[in-house]
Symmetry: C2
Subunit: 382 residues, 2 copies
């Protein structure tokens, strides 16, 4: 199979060592060889999320990022709980829909497309009701807008300290800084195929001691597969180096995750966040300055490090542009935010694509955008 350059906001291009780790022969899920792999993963998640409370817990379950929404709805939200969703796009709204399935009373505070709500707006909303759970989509993959978790958590701790803070980190974990303990977060959920840099197939997360307590005290279970009371002892056992069984874990994906977390942590977390941000900001600036394009995110200050949403210039047809790029060997993603769907495209620049300069992915992305637009007759208006 010939390889195109995949530059969408997930699945992302993964490293060679990850692909190798992904193709080991199967192991027994209760054998010491696999236990030590899974143990390493669970310990390293503590480092990745910067948690200092040993009673917090890393979560790795076969599934996808979406499963994290069900884990939230079926464990952390009790029926009729009031939940506040801070929405910065399509995925924030889908999270709200998932929670409604679990009988949450959801209020959505919706930011303008490409923007965020002001801290004042959030504070005002928080004062209206006692929310049991507040969800924040750290980076909404439909808009490339990054929420400022440090500031938001500060306000939540001030106005509504008992609210659980749940972060959809699908497009942020391992590319944006997350301070689990310092910011007092309760559950961060993500998938495997984004900045964590392995193939899709895992729901990965990190949960706080107090969120665990709420999950364990839940009066009635509403899920089996996504049940934290059933999974937590299993995960705790694996982390302690003991065999344990609930449902068969994804051996190869967890081995790939081990290799990827080793790569991430060996490379230095801070260095990773700084470089990802620099590469992203340079790329965004070139798109706006050199090509005269308009980004979906309204302010570079909060435009995501892991992806960029770009409006098509007047007169450029979306599918034609994506085909033209594909002819040049690069796969970008179309728009997905319902309000602006046909008007923009998305470029993923997470993991090795941003961090390994020798691959030349970002240069290539820029050149292909420029060439494809030129082919379709676009001229920058000076």
């Amino acid at each position: 199979m010939s390889e195109d350059l995949l530059l969408i906001p997930g699945p992302v291009t993964v490293s060679k060592d990850v692909l190798k780790a992904q193709s080991i022969q199967s192991l027994s899920h209760t054998h010491p060889k696999f236990i030590s792999i899974f143990q390493s993963v669970l310990k390293n998640l503590r480092v990745l999320f910067k948690s200092t409370n040993p009673k917090d817990q890393g979560i790795v379950i076969s599934g996808s990022g979406t499963l994290g929404w069900d884990i939230t709805g079926s464990n952390l939200v009790y029926p009729d709980d009031d939940v506040l969703v801070l929405s910065t796009g399509f995925f924030s709204d889908k999270f709200a829909k998932a929670l409604e399935v679990y009988d949450a009373n959801v209020d959505i505070l919706t930011a303008p497309v490409g923007g965020i709500n002001s801290l004042q707006e959030v504070e005002t909303q928080l004062k209206k009701k006692k929310y049991s759970v507040i969800t924040i989509t750290h980076v909404d993959t439909s808009t490339a807008v990054t929420q400022n978790l440090a500031n938001l958590s500060k306000i939540i701790k001030k106005v509504s300290p008992e609210s659980l803070i749940v972060i959809d980190g699908v497009c942020s974990v391992a590319v944006e800084d997350i301070e689990f303990t310092k910011w007092g977060l309760d559950y961060v959920l993500t998938g495997s195929q984004k900045a964590i840099g392995i193939p899709p197939g895992l729901s990965i997360g990190f949960i706080s001691e107090r969120a665990i307590e709420k999950a364990l005290k839940r009066p009635k279970q509403s899920t089996y597969f996504a049940s934290l009371p059933l999974w937590l002892p299993i995960l705790q056992n694996y982390e302690a180096g003991k065999p344990s069984y609930f449902a068969t874990p994804s051996i190869q994906l967890i081995n790939a995750l081990k290799v990827s977390l080793d790569e991430i942590l060996n490379g230095g977390l801070e260095e990773r966040f700084i470089k990802s941000k620099r590469v992203a900001q340079d790329f965004k600036k070139r798109l706006t300055n050199e090509l005269g394009l308009q980004l979906v995110s309204l302010d570079n200050e909060y435009s995501a490090s892991g992806l960029t949403g770009v409006y098509f210039p007047e007169g450029i047809n979306g599918p034609d542009f994506l085909n033209s790029a594909y002819k040049r060997g690069v796969v970008f993603a179309g728009g997905i935010h319902t309000a602006i769907q046909p008007k923009y495209f998305r470029v993923g620049h997470m993991g090795v694509s941003a961090l390994d300069d020798s691959l030349g992915h970002i240069e290539k992305a820029f050149d292909v955008i420029k060439e494809s637009l030129a082919e379709l007759g676009y001229k920058k208006i000076e």
Copy 2:
């Protein structure tokens, strides 16, 4: 990583081509390249399950076999539905527990350990209540007991034709014959790491037109991630060759599944079932006749083609035996049925291990069992 010979009832040793397919670089989940892979998988599931109704549907979702229990409970069982579970072991009972989470009223008809209930017992039970759903664990991985689905479905169709028939096929699909249409089955669920022969990480299934109707008419959704109303249009689109998105599918695992289904179907389904059965029966006979061991399944007639449960002889310590086998390079599985857990072990012989003679896996399994028992002082009593 040095490779031991993995002979447990899942995850199973997978073929070289499957491992290769498992390690392709990521693809966009909406790109024609991936769509044609997923399309092939969904079409081939119709052949594997022998379905002739185009309104039935193959299901492939990131997860594990266990997720199929939630798919059942949250889609096909309405709250307060009466459900009958035919139990032949640990996994049948766990399925019952999973359904209770979704507010099913579950009756369990429990067979003796290693045995099955008579058709007369099943018929008597069916006449006691109108069951909306009847679950049958085709092969319970804790006992290696195979239910006769042809006979059971005949009785159900006679006594209670409106009951949905749900088959846990985790340890049977692709190693035991399943006639979805002929037997009038409604949902067969399995995982990827058993006889289908790929790494763990997918919930694979096949669902009937009438089960789909029941899922779509459900008064209230009780799951998001496992929701058939949300997944069905996506799966139907992929099968029709159209891009579609709900949650990111496991690109590499689905590519591995494509390769494995091609291998399975190209090799001939009937030939596969016949050879798997012959290899299994020969193996079981050698264990009982040559080594004087006792199987967990009480009758060879219904002992599974994909695995064997074997009691340790008097005086043999389970962990010592498994360690001794491991020193010889083979990984077997311990017991898991709560009533007899420390008294037996399990040998998986699914997929390439049974079908590719050149690998010599079954010979090796037998020799290692014999040598390990001898090392621990076992002598066959003539």
